[in-house]
């Protein structure tokens, strides 16, 4: 009988400290706070077919090259190209795509991974990618596997109109479809922040209804977006104005630059664009001056320095840790803003202050957390908790000895 009861009591005794530990940790982490920015994704879509829409493919490939250069790896880029200009028979330079008439840069080099091509680029597939509702056979490389910590860049180019974007010359994506997809993504925790960038005619109408995202379009309602220049050698226009000036902005940057989104958005000159770039930030929480462009167009993560090679943190712990981090960050942001004010034209090159900040606060394994808590010891409740926890092994041992 005793042997029967004893394991059970033992189990109870073992469960107790775990519960106590849990409660002590849960007490400290706030459940409201959003996840940390953990990864970057890009969905780049060219929606038009046909040779005379060469520039749309060139736009998309240029953006692809830029985000890759700024650090988003290929497996986190979903590239959708509705037609293959490189291998079009009319292409004077077979298997090459250029976005400038000087032909210095071939955008269609060896390392371009096109995820959806040709007739695969449909409204249905596009919405499936965004919402993550795929058929089981779709490979992982074709899925947007983002999570609640992802920053996503969604770039679309093609022919559009008032509240629609034409796909493939046969169907169209309407603004409320897009808004619905974004809402679903939000519900499914598929992103932390989302930047929608659209280069079409009347692009601004496309995010009339998109919730909770930052959006920028090449033209207002009733305006056209124009191509930048014609390549008389290839015989087509090779790039659109909005994309051209976006790329011009990014060509000056590298992965360490801290140029903010507002500096990107204010770089568009309506007289050069021949349309008014419109951005919508009312649904976006952070101040644009504080958000570096690499938050969307690159993949610059906060590097977390740890003592051990493998940190054995549970998910919850990291969440709590981030809580503190965000506090630190906010302090840092103030610092940085002041810096920006000092030399506002030039972007600051301080090598990731977050890293330093992180190092300070990140020397954390479970033991050090404990120690710290003990050191602080201000909270009587937590002291009591820890005391109880310390009692448990004693209790267990004594029970075992008595038997």
């Amino acid at each position: 009988m005793e042997t029967f009861i004893n394991p059970k009591s033992l189990f109870h005794l073992l469960l107790l400290p775990c519960l106590l530990l849990y409660s002590s940790i849960a007490y400290n982490s706030s459940p409201v706070e959003a996840a940390m920015h953990t990864n970057n994704w890009a969905v780049l879509v060219c929606t038009s077919r046909f040779w005379f829409n060469y520039r749309h493919m060139a736009n998309t490939l240029s953006l692809y090259r830029t985000v890759k250069r700024l650090g988003i790896p290929d497996e986190r880029i979903i590239l959708m190209l509705a037609d293959d200009m490189a291998c079009n028979t009319r292409n004077k330079y077979p298997a090459q795509v250029f976005n400038n008439e000087n032909h210095r840069l071939n955008l269609y080099g060896d390392n371009v991974e096109v995820d959806y091509r040709g007739y695969e680029v449909t409204v249905e597939n596009f919405l499936r990618v965004l919402t993550g509702r795929h058929e089981t056979a779709v490979p992982r490389s074709k899925r947007l596997l983002s999570d609640e910590g992802s920053h996503i860049l969604l770039y679309m180019t093609g022919h559009g109109g008032d509240e629609f974007l034409k796909f493939q010359d046969s169907e169209e994506l309407q603004s409320h479809d897009l808004a619905d997809a974004v809402k679903q993504m939000k519900e499914k925790h598929r992103f932390k922040e989302l930047l929608i960038m659209v280069d079409t005619c009347q692009a601004a109408t496309l995010f009339n209804q998109s919730p909770g995202v930052l959006a920028i379009g090449s033209s207002m309602k009733g305006e056209n977006s124009y191509s930048h220049h014609l390549d008389s050698d290839v015989g087509v226009s090779v790039v659109d104005r909005f994309t051209y000036y976006t790329l011009a902005f990014f060509e000056r940057l590298n992965i360490y630059d801290n140029a903010s989104l507002s500096s990107l958005f204010s770089s568009y000159n309506p007289s050069l664009l021949m349309s008014t770039a419109y951005y919508r930030k009312d649904l976006y929480k952070r101040r644009l001056e504080e958000v570096p462009v690499t938050n969307f167009f690159g993949s610059v993560m906060e590097t977390i320095h740890t003592d051990a090679a493998y940190k054995a943190l549970s998910r919850r712990n990291s969440g709590r840790f981030e809580d503190e981090m965000s506090l630190d960050q906010s302090v840092h942001h103030i610092k940085r803003r002041m810096l920006i004010k000092v030399n506002d034209g030039d972007e600051i090159h301080d090598i990731n202050p977050e890293l330093l900040q992180g190092e300070e606060g990140a020397s954390k394994c479970p033991w050090s957390t404990f120690r710290k808590k003990f050191q602080k010891a201000e909270n009587v409740d937590s002291l009591l908790n820890y005391g109880l926890v310390a009692m448990i092994p004693l209790l267990v041992i004594s029970t075992w000895l008595v038997q």
């Binding site: 046909f50 014609l230 050698d233 290839v234 015989g235 226009s237």
Partner: protein, 710 residues
């Protein structure tokens, strides 16, 4: 339709409330005279307004992108072309009697470029009149008859395969060339085509195959192209035609020689094909030119008034004007250019537009008087050639297979300077290159722009929606007049019967008589039908007459006239005798006959406007006044008033003018002077019309019926 409408009207009369549309109909019918005068005037006026209403052309198809690529034709290619011109104009090459030598030269040049080359031997086909083939597609499966070996032509065909293309489509470049008596112009056109061809063998951007057809024009340009197209579009799977070729040693000789001299396998004796034709360009260079600048003339009209897609003309016009600095011409009726009445009309329109603009600044429709005159002359020629239905060049053969094609005739300011020749080779070549590159960009057939249009200048056009208004106004009075005539005829007979019969008998006989009277128009319909039948017989007669061997045009025309009269008399005695008996009633019934005739003319014109607008328009101009004015001469003579006398004169004049031979002579007289007019000419003219299976021919016959009514 008018009759049924009328019946419903008479049924509804007792009802107090009449629907507005019916009331409007009654109003129009009762005032048919004024309505018809207004409508006809408006119709003619609208026709003259068309040059003012013309819109600027624009390139409708996005994919074309003319001029977006810079031309790649360099001086190297030009000197290649120059070499060919020199070789062809060299007197040695002309020594051969059949002109085979020059074909060999051309083939050799093509082979040197790496193109696939083949010869296409054809026998010129005599144009034959097939009365029942008006609307069928061009006859493809023609039985090969025994031709003599002496009369055949040789087309040289070179094909470049698109390096990355799928070989499903092709662009055709045609240069007519008569090896026996070629002028310098023809050699030059070959030079231009060759320089473009040599460029196209090197480029990587071809999506469509390029076919260069050197059409042997010794039996006519059209015949050569048509023969090649027939062969191209209808592959023969049996080897029946080969023995035919073997029988002629000369041709075999040619083929064998080629086979020996050329080591490569690119030359083939069999007929070579590429993909579906996207479009075709016929290139010509005129020998003599009195103009002071380099101009290029566009000929677009194909058989039966069909036009190529407007985009093709737009592309050529755009490239010629904005890239190569050539002046573009479309055909004009030159005689109209100097007419003073047209000038004054243009001035009136101009001043009217000024007044309108001063009233409301947004109204801008005026064009200068000189521009108006030119626009009208171009429009008139456009109408004339569409109405005639005879293609204006070898491009017509392509249209029969739904391929958009035009003829470009370059007329350079002439000098024998070598620099000048290089210049024209360069600019002509670049123009052709640009057009080919633009068409090469095309993803589908030409379909975006208009097929139904009239040109008023190379960059201005009148679309179908506008010019149909003029036509609709012109024929609108016909149904109204027919209805009013029918009502009159019915009511007048009603009155006379009402007077004679006693009131008691009315109820009994009325229903019966109404039933008879409502079917009385059948009598007149029968008469009209008989006349139409006669017209059909007359129109079929020339087919049999043409079977008579060794007949001069004048005698065959005489035979035709005699036979026509004979057939009329026969028909009259056999079929029309019952009508002759009831001569007393016939006089009263002329109105009914006229009404039926007008209805049939209305239907005929409506149908014709669908088939060939220009023919219908010109026909309506002639026939509508005649139909509206027609009245038996006897009645006019009896009435004796001034008005009826005028009407009689009008009828006689109109009747004679509209009679086809008379109309022909008048036109010819106006254009050439009356001195050299001849009956035989008419025969020749008609003969040329059958040859093209022209719808005009049908139409002329229709005019004939009307005349016989007068």
């Amino acid at each position: 339709m008018a009759e049924t409408k009328e019946k419903s009207l008479s049924d509804e009369k007792p009802k107090p409330r009449v629907r507005p549309i019916v009331r409007l109909g009654i109003f129009l019918i009762s005032h048919s005279f004024h309505v018809s005068v207004v409508c006809c005037t408006a119709g003619v006026l609208a026709l003259f307004l068309l040059p003012v209403l013309a819109k600027n052309t624009y390139i409708s198809e996005n994919a074309l992108m003319p001029g977006s690529a810079s031309p790649m034709l360099s001086n190297q290619h030009v000197s290649d072309g120059n070499r060919l011109v020199k070789d062809l104009t060299n007197p040695n090459s002309k020594s051969s009697e059949t002109g085979i030598e020059s074909h060999k030269i051309i083939a050799q040049y093509m082979l040197d470029l790496g193109a696939e080359v083949s010869f296409h031997k054809f026998h010129p086909q005599m144009n034959q009149f097939h009365p029942l083939h008006f609307f069928s597609s061009p006859d493809s499966g023609k039985i090969q008859e025994n031709y003599s070996c002496s009369s055949y032509g040789i087309n040289t065909v070179g094909i470049i395969r698109a390096p990355h293309g799928d070989g499903k489509e092709a662009i055709v470049l045609v240069t007519p060339y008569n090896a026996l008596k070629s002028g310098f112009g023809e050699a030059l056109s070959l030079g231009i085509a060759y320089s473009v061809f040599s460029l196209l063998t090197q480029v990587t951007w071809l999506a469509k195959d390029i076919i260069w057809l050197v059409a042997d024009s010794q039996y006519g340009e059209y015949a050569a192209v048509a023969a090649w197209l027939r062969e191209y579009q209808t592959p023969k799977f049996s080897s029946l035609s080969t023995p035919n070729a073997e029988m002629c040693p000369d041709v075999n000789n040619l083929f064998e020689l080629k086979g020996h001299s050329i080591s490569g396998s690119k030359f083939s004796n069999s007929f070579r094909r590429a993909g579906t034709m996207a479009s075709a360009l016929v290139l010509k260079v005129r020998d003599q030119n009195e103009q002071f600048e380099d101009t290029i003339s566009i000929y677009a009209e194909a058989s039966n008034g069909q036009m190529p897609n407007l985009d093709l003309i737009n592309v050529v016009n755009y490239l010629a004007v904005h890239r190569q600095g050539l002046r573009v011409n479309v055909e004009k009726l030159w005689s109209l250019l100097n007419s003073s009445w047209l000038k004054s009309l243009g001035e009136i329109f101009e001043s009217l537009a000024k007044v309108a603009k001063s009233l409301y600044p947004k109204w801008k429709f005026g064009i200068p008087a000189t521009e108006y005159v030119e626009g009208t002359a171009t429009l008139a020629s456009s109408l004339y050639y569409q109405a005639l239905g005879v293609p204006t060049g070898p491009h017509g053969a392509f249209r029969d297979y739904q391929v958009d094609a035009i003829t470009l005739e370059i007329s350079p300011k002439f000098s024998l300077d070598k620099v000048w020749r290089n210049d024209i080779l360069l600019r002509g070549g670049r123009l052709i290159e640009g057009v080919i590159r633009s068409v090469n960009n095309l993803l589908e057939k030409f379909h975006q722009s208009f097929f139904l249009y009239l040109l008023t200048s190379p960059s201005k056009f009148v679309s179908v929606g506008v010019y149909m208004i003029a036509f609709a106004l012109l024929i609108a009075p016909l149904p109204m007049v027919a209805a009013s005539l029918y009502v009159d005829a019915n009511s007048s007979s009603n009155c006379s019967k009402g007077d004679s019969s006693t009131p008691s008998a009315i109820t009994d006989t009325d229903e019966h008589s109404i039933a008879i009277r409502s079917w009385r128009w059948l009598n007149s319909a029968k008469l009209v039908f008989i006349v139409h039948l006669w017209g059909a017989i007359v129109s079929l007669l020339p087919y049999f007459i043409s079977q008579i061997p060794d007949c001069s045009p004048t005698t065959s025309f005489m035979i035709w006239v005699l036979l026509s009269i004979l057939s009329l008399l026969t028909l009259n005695s056999v079929l029309a005798s019952p009508l002759a008996c009831a001569k007393a009633t016939q006089e009263k019934e002329w109105a009914l006959v006229k009404s039926v005739t007008i209805s049939s003319v209305f239907i005929g014109l409506g149908l014709m406007s669908v088939i060939n607008f220009a023919t219908a328009e010109i026909g309506a101009l002639l026939m509508v006044p005649m139909c509206l004015l027609a009245q038996p001469l006897k009645l006019d003579v009896r009435a004796g008033t001034l008005r009826s006398f005028c009407r009689m004169i009008c009828n006689l004049v109109l009747g004679h003018i509209a009679f086809p031979p008379a109309a022909f002579f008048l036109l010819k007289g106006m254009l050439d002077g009356f001195g050299n007019a001849n009956v035989g000419d008419f025969w020749m003219w008609v003969e040329s019309l059958w040859a093209w299976n022209s719808a005009t021919y049908l139409f002329i016959v229709e005019v004939t019926y009307i005349f016989s009514h007068g």
